[in-house]
């Protein structure tokens, strides 16, 4: 495929991706840090809904033979060490690599610093990569997927995952409904005093 066409497809998909990230409010630092402090569960809901949808989509596309899967190799040392550092960065940035761009689009000025820091981090890793890949971080197995381990077809495993996620989401939603977690300004800021909102007055029944 031509690079120009790939860029056009990427831009179009990115606009849809950014639109959905903005509408879900999952790009908000208040929602991302709130999730990591376990006081806001919108991020987990968006994430799990997207994983379940992706699993169903891929179960169909792969099950009927339209596409090949492209899982990453299991490099446990790198997955654990990299994942821990990445997670720390997500909390301090209040963003992940994709939502940083959504924050910039929505007008958060500090996200520009996150972006520049991210570019420096990627370049620093690039210089270190030839040395790091010779350490335990470069060691690992192949493209391992759970359904192969269980000896079932991928599409069956993917549909089971989607079903499990749906059950988790139903339970999560009944425990923590999403609307109150948006906050007054749809930014996940649920601790600030509700400004002149008369709707939240609690009516205490007379004893």
């Amino acid at each position: 495929m031509s690079v120009t066409l790939a860029i056009a497809v990427g831009l179009l998909m990115g606009v849809v991706f950014g639109f959905a990230l903005e509408k879900s409010r999952v790009f908000e630092p208040g929602i991302i840090v709130g999730q990591m402090q376990m006081r806001n569960f919108i991020m987990l809901k968006v994430f799990l809904a997207a994983v379940a949808t992706g699993a169903v989509v891929l179960a169909v596309l792969n099950g009927f033979g339209y596409v090949k899967l492209a899982p990453k190799a299991a490099l446990y040392g790198a997955d654990i060490v990299g994942g821990l550092i990445l997670g720390a960065g997500i909390s301090l940035a209040g963003a992940c690599p994709g939502t940083t761009l959504a924050q910039i689009g929505a007008g958060y000025r500090d996200a520009l610093f996150t972006l520049v820091g991210g570019l420096f981090g990627a370049v620093a890793y690039s210089y270190a990569e030839p040395a790091l890949s010779k350490t335990f971080l470069g060691q690992g197995g192949g493209k391992l997927i759970f359904s192969d381990l269980a000896g079932i077809p991928y599409w069956v495993g993917a549909l089971i995952l989607a079903a499990v996620i749906v059950v988790i989401l139903v339970a999560l939603e009944s425990w923590r409904p999403w609307r109150p977690e948006l906050g007054n300004d749809s930014d996940g800021d649920i601790a600030s005093a509700p400004a002149a909102s008369t709707k939240t007055i609690h009516i205490v029944p007379a004893e």
Binding site: V16, L21, M36, G54, G89, F113
Partner: protein
């Protein structure tokens, strides 16, 4: 619909998950975001240090091919899409989210910018060690039942929860 300030997280998640269809069918790859930082970072760094292109990892990421530049366009499109969505709903943002004053215990923009830069730096350094981020390992890896991606996502949440609890203050 397009002018609403917020959608249900389930609707938004389904829309994001459906993006795997064009990714796999047209580009023959999965959704991801963090490799694009190596592509753009590598191109910019090569203006100052052309020798960086002799590193195989960088050469692979800056090569003019559909997969590399599709992802750069994707993350660029994310900024455009978020901008359009925000304009259509009229959800105006402050320059810095109000939660940072509590999380950092300081209203200083300089402090927030420094933390954002550092956070961005380790976020991408970690993502490149792990070979993926919340999109590549999270959305795509878990949907493909990848064992390594599931380990990486668990580590991300452990690192994120520890940092948000021990380093940041209650928001």
């Amino acid at each position: 619909m397009l002018t609403q300030k917020a959608w249900s997280p389930y609707l938004a998640g389904i829309v994001i998950g459906l993006l795997q269809i064009p990714a796999f069918l047209i580009i023959e790859t999965a959704l991801g975001a963090s490799s694009s930082y190596v592509t753009i970072g590598g191109v910019i760094a090569s203006w100052f240090d052309p020798a960086i292109l002799s590193i195989g990892y960088v050469a692979r990421h800056v090569a003019i091919n559909a997969k590399n530049w599709w992802q750069v366009a994707l993350v660029g499109g994310v900024a455009i899409g978020a901008f359009l969505s925000m304009k259509m709903s009229g959800a105006r943002r402050h320059a810095i989210s109000p939660i940072w004053q509590r999380a950092l215990g300081s209203a200083s923009p300089a402090k927030r910018y420094a933390v954002a830069f550092f956070g961005g730096f380790i976020m991408l350094f970690g993502a490149r060690i792990a070979d993926g981020c919340t999109s590549g390992h999270g959305l795509s890896g878990m949907a493909q039942l990848a064992v390594g991606s599931t380990v990486a996502v668990a580590a991300m949440f452990v690192g994120g929860i520890a940092t948000a609890t021990l380093v940041l203050r209650r928001i």
